[in-house]
Symmetry: C2
Subunit: 233 residues, 2 copies
DNA sequence: TAGATTGTTAATCGATTAACAATC
DNA sequence: TAGATTGTTAATCGATTAACAATC
């Protein structure tokens, strides 16, 4: 086993004995594709044991060289002439993404979006357990959707501590987002999924990902418009 | 005026006389930042007339050289030594993104997410008018959220035609997404915002953007895990 | 062995950013 | 003019992809 100074971090810390280590940084673009591959593998033919990069690329809608390069960052899970062992590869991707445990999650903002997200099955399916919703409006406090309680904002720090919450989903108005994000960071949250249409300014210790619904639509209209112009021009 | 062969497309087609043309392709990464800039400009100090690339960069959370490069693709809207005229720049970004008109939009899937999206103010604020929701479940057909009707899937083609719908928001289960996307394409929809956790395989004539909620959370867990490992390692 | 497919190299492509001349 | 800031160039960085040797 190499000394700790030889590796940046080591996939074997949580992994099984059969599996090679993950060495060095995995590029962000690769990370963002791993969940897609995971889903494609889960959807692969039930009987199959192996899956080629070509097949995976076809389902995921990417280039097969990209699949091979992406997977090479995880270590060697392919068999030349055969393909990738589906079960092994799935396990390794889950391990690299940290999906071999459950993540207590809170949703801040119990408006339309927050409540819909609380009911969204996809989160639970992927191992994200929503332990509570929070809202500034005292009238909303009480039993919430899908059996998840809606709590007062004052409870935030206590719940984060008691339930060991690592992830917060931010579904508050843009005007409130920055303030709430700062409170979450202060309470010890290290990961925020931000649905508020605003750029959060927060320390490096907190990872923020933004899901910006209007922005996505506006990018679509750019293409609609340019297609229109090229047709009429 | 240059001949049509000299430009790929021309921002003046819908633009005012004062404004320079947009020539050539705007890089996708730039397009995806334009909505952010637009929001930052709208949020800029109400009294101000000009805004520097440095200020804009600060609010948008990007490098100021990037702001200048991005904006340079739109033509020359800055004044050296002064900054960008906020109102002019806003107008030009809206024009480039095609936001100088309204877009009739449909939401397919009247589940939790579809209904929450129908109620989401951000869409209407940005000029996206949701004309109808659609659902396979006949029991859901009838008056829907925010005064928007829930219609049977059979009505899809008629509504798309009659209301000149260009954008569809896909909020159906993954298993149904591909089939619905093909119907939408067939009906003449050119832009799809896909919330179903699946990669759509569809012709080049249809622009698809994916919003993948579980994937976003899984990217967060990757960083949580690697932070955990580097702390304990 | 012959056929298939990986893992990796090297080329290409595109995006970011520092630096600075142009110019308000 | 002096100070400020743009617009653009060139350097750097990172991501994609074709090609192919390694090898099952």
């Amino acid at each position: 086993m190499p000394g700790p100074s030889a590796v940046l971090w080591d996939g074997d810390v949580l992994g099984g004995p059969r599996l090679a280590s993950v060495r060095g940084r995995i590029p962000p673009t690769t990370i963002s594709r791993l969940p897609i591959y995971l889903r494609c593998l889960a959807a692969a033919s039930p009987g199959a044991t192996f899956c080629s990069s070509e097949q995976l690329a076809e389902i995921a809608g990417v280039n097969s060289a990209q699949v091979r390069k992406d997977l090479s960052y995880l270590g060697s899970y392919g068999v030349r002439g055969v393909g990738y062992n589906i079960a092994e590869l799935e396990a390794q991707i889950r391990r690299v993404l940290g999906l071999d445990r459950e993540y207590p999650t809170v949703i801040v903002g119990a408006g339309n979006l927050g409540r819909a997200l609380a009911r969204y099955d996809g989160f639970a399916d992927a191992g994200f357990r929503v332990v509570a919703l929070f809202d500034v409006d005292p009238a909303k406090v009480g039993p919430g959707p899908a059996g998840i309680p809606i709590l007062a904002m004052g409870e935030l720090e206590r719940v984060v501590r008691d339930e060991d919450v690592a992830i917060a989903i931010l579904a508050v108005p843009a005007s409130a987002a920055q303030g709430v994000a700062e409170r979450l960071a202060e309470a010890g949250i290290r990961s925020i999924l931000n649905f508020a249409p605003t750029v959060l300014r927060i320390g490096d210790g907190v990872e923020v990902r933004r899901v910006d619904l209007s922005t996505e639509l506006q990018i679509l209209t750019y293409h609609l418009r340019s297609r229109l112009l090229s047709e009429s021009g």
